[in-house]
Symmetry: C2
Subunit: 139 residues, 2 copies
């Protein structure tokens, strides 16, 4: 049996990253690592490291993005939870065998080599759950 090893990040959907940073960075004091302009998802993402994980602030930059539609429908707030696993193939297989509904049957790969997949909120009690397997940094 495999199990997640830590909370990788908590993602928050906001209207505007700069406005949200006034709270999360300037008032609360979380360090700001960088802001990414992500053309694949049509969002800006601010990364704020915190302990062994991080907080991510996500804001759409066009009304066409999926996140813009989510924001219009549900409003700003907690969007998804991402847990880190050592072996995402084993984790997704185990979840499927135990009846969970996966959004991502086969892991996808980010440019930095991170492999990831999503579990449907139907199976988790309403939470969009992401699983991450980080790329090995040495080989």
């Amino acid at each position: 049996m495999t199990a997640p090893i830590k909370i990788n990040h908590v993602a928050i959907v906001v209207e505007d990253v700069d406005v949200a940073l006034k709270f999360w960075h300037e008032a609360l004091g979380l360090p700001l690592q960088h802001v990414e302009h992500n053309e694949d998802e049509l969002v800006n993402i601010a990364f704020l490291p915190l302990g062994e994980g991080e907080v991510e602030l996500i804001a759409p930059f066009t009304p066409e993005s999926g996140v813009a539609k989510y924001l219009a429908k549900k409003g700003a707030g907690l969007h998804h939870l991402c847990l880190e696993v050592e072996d995402i193939d084993a984790a997704l297989t185990q979840l499927k065998e135990r009846g969970a509904e996966l959004i991502t049957e086969q892991p996808k790969v980010r440019p930095d080599g991170t492999r990831y997949g999503f579990v449907h909120p139907k199976s988790t009690g309403g939470v969009l759950l992401e699983l991450y397997e980080k790329a090995l940094t040495s080989s």
Copy 2:
């Protein structure tokens, strides 16, 4: 300037803790520390440790609880994010000085000595944010 040191927990509101544990504990594999029957908040809470933090599953056991009303209105899903701070007085003072709206002006204290307070979602970009200062275990 003070800043949070880690994610203490992510709280998820569910209809039924036992049903939710079938996913989070049995399928996903998170260890179950214990389930608390909390008469103050009228909820059952399952604690699932994960890395330096934990996932909490919260379910009302009567329709009178505040969480039952939240569940009826918003549905199951991510409920709040709790970050750990070293000095909650300093953290709340800093937030207030920088214009954040606090739900808890003065920290409250749990039976185990944890001191905590909440920041209003208006200030955070839609997230109910809890801050925790853990009790010292040695003195």
